[in-house]
């Protein structure tokens, strides 16, 4: 009798797994070495130029798959250099208060209002950078976001989190006061310009 129950259980379990794989969303794989970050891992969009670490608009997918947004004013003089070597990351004065949490219910409306910006003149585009905490992940919210983008206006890429994003995200979650000068930065990856 026990055996039968066990077998039933196994069958049930396998069925559940199958059901899961059917529902499974696109799996994103991002190389962790900052070398092959970007573009073609998605399949639906193969070309996107390398435009530095940060975009005009930025999204972060954390360990739990939660989505955060922040914006960044580009300094085009220094940020638009195309270089095959991997530049060190500059600090952009990110602050925990800049993070805005988004979820399934708000992502589409939010992108309509703030990323697919109607005021952009024709021929200009804005850059969207998506930073992920995990190399391989699965995010239905991100898929929703990417399918909502208007590709004549938005250029995007996906890369691992930068050092600054990791630190600021930790402070966002703990709520402790954030003083960038007191953080011990990994200077092999980050440039401290002052």
């Amino acid at each position: 009798m026990k055996k039968v129950i066990f077998i039933l259980f196994v069958i049930l379990g396998s069925c559940m797994e199958q059901a899961n794989t059917e529902v499974k969303e696109k799996v994103y794989t991002i190389a962790p070495d900052m070398n092959h970050w970007s573009k073609d891992t998605l399949g639906n969009r193969t070309e996107s130029p390398l435009f530095g670490y940060y975009g005009d608009k930025n999204l972060i997918v954390d360990e739990q798959g939660k989505l955060f947004y922040y914006s960044y004013s580009q300094n085009y003089n220094t940020d638009c250099i195309y270089d095959n070597t991997i530049p060190k990351q500059k600090l952009i004065h990110l602050n925990p208060k800049d993070f805005i949490e988004l979820n399934d219910n708000t992502i589409e409306g939010f992108i309509d209002q703030n990323i697919n910006d109607a005021d952009i003149p024709k021929g200009q585009f804005i850059t969207l950078v998506i930073g992920t905490a995990r190399d391989t992940f699965n995010s239905a919210t991100l898929t929703k976001a990417l399918s909502k983008l208007e590709y004549e206006k938005v250029v995007y890429m996906i890369r691992p989190l930068t050092e600054e994003e990791k630190v600021v995200l930790a402070y966002y979650k703990s709520g402790e006061p954030y003083y960038p000068a007191k953080v011990i930065w990994d200077t092999t990856k980050v440039v401290l310009n002052r």
Binding site: N95, K97, D98, T106, N114, D117, D119, E176, Y178
Partner: protein, 207 residues
């Protein structure tokens, strides 16, 4: 009879609960008449908080478009702020990019996630404040009603005020609307009315 009483009691309780701060969508906000946390309207001649900015801030413009931005709290030992100057607002280094549009479709979910979120850390929860800036005067704003209803009925309720726009907000808002026209906002080039705003010793403050 008991049943009737019970229903009556229920009715009374429900009436009390649905006692929203406003019943219609018409508001009057001037320099001397603000709205604050469930107290209703009060006079600004009463000495008030130096800080007009909350952790979360909404700006509602004359076309009822709503913008959101957050401000890092000032941590100080004496709770007075760094530099107290009555009647003036501090410069907060706000940039047009910091303003994010939120429309009525996603408003409720947005507030749930970013303002009244129960999962947020205890430090932020403790300092949870919301300032809603309006152009002032008498105006009709259904979206303000929905914001107030949402925050007053939620569990993790922020302390809130509705007030007129500050000088910095109105200037930054103007630049936000002229975004992508090539005009760049530079706080150094603005002629600030220093009777209304004051700067910390070193500015712009690097966040």
């Amino acid at each position: 009879m008991k049943k009737l009483l019970f229903i009556g009691a229920l009715l009374i309780i429900s009436c009390k609960e649905s006692n929203a701060p406003v019943n219609n969508d018409t508001y009057t906000i001037t320099e001397n008449q603000w709205m604050a946390d469930s107290i209703g309207k009060y006079d600004t001649s009463i000495p008030r908080f130096n800080d007009l900015y909350g952790r979360c801030n909404f700006i509602i413009d004359s076309t009822n478009t709503v913008y959101f931005y957050a401000k890092a709290p000032t941590f100080s030992n004496d709770c007075l702020g760094v530099d107290f100057q009555p009647g003036k607002t501090p410069f907060i280094n706000l940039f047009p990019d910091d303003l994010v549009k939120v429309d009525s479709k996603i408003m409720n979910h947005f507030i749930e996630l970013n303002i009244v979120n129960n999962d947020m850390n205890p430090v932020t929860k403790k300092l949870n404040t919301l300032a809603i800036a309006t152009p002032g005067g008498t105006f009709n704003s259904p979206i303000l009603t929905s914001i107030l209803n949402k925050i007053t009925t939620s569990r993790n309720k922020p302390l809130w005020i509705v007030r007129p726009l500050t000088q910095e907000e109105s200037i930054v808002l103007k630049y936000k609307k002229e975004n992508y026209t090539g005009i760049v906002y530079d706080p150094h080039l603005i002629e600030w009315d220093t009777t209304k705003i004051y700067f910390e010793k070193y500015w712009p403050i690097q966040p």
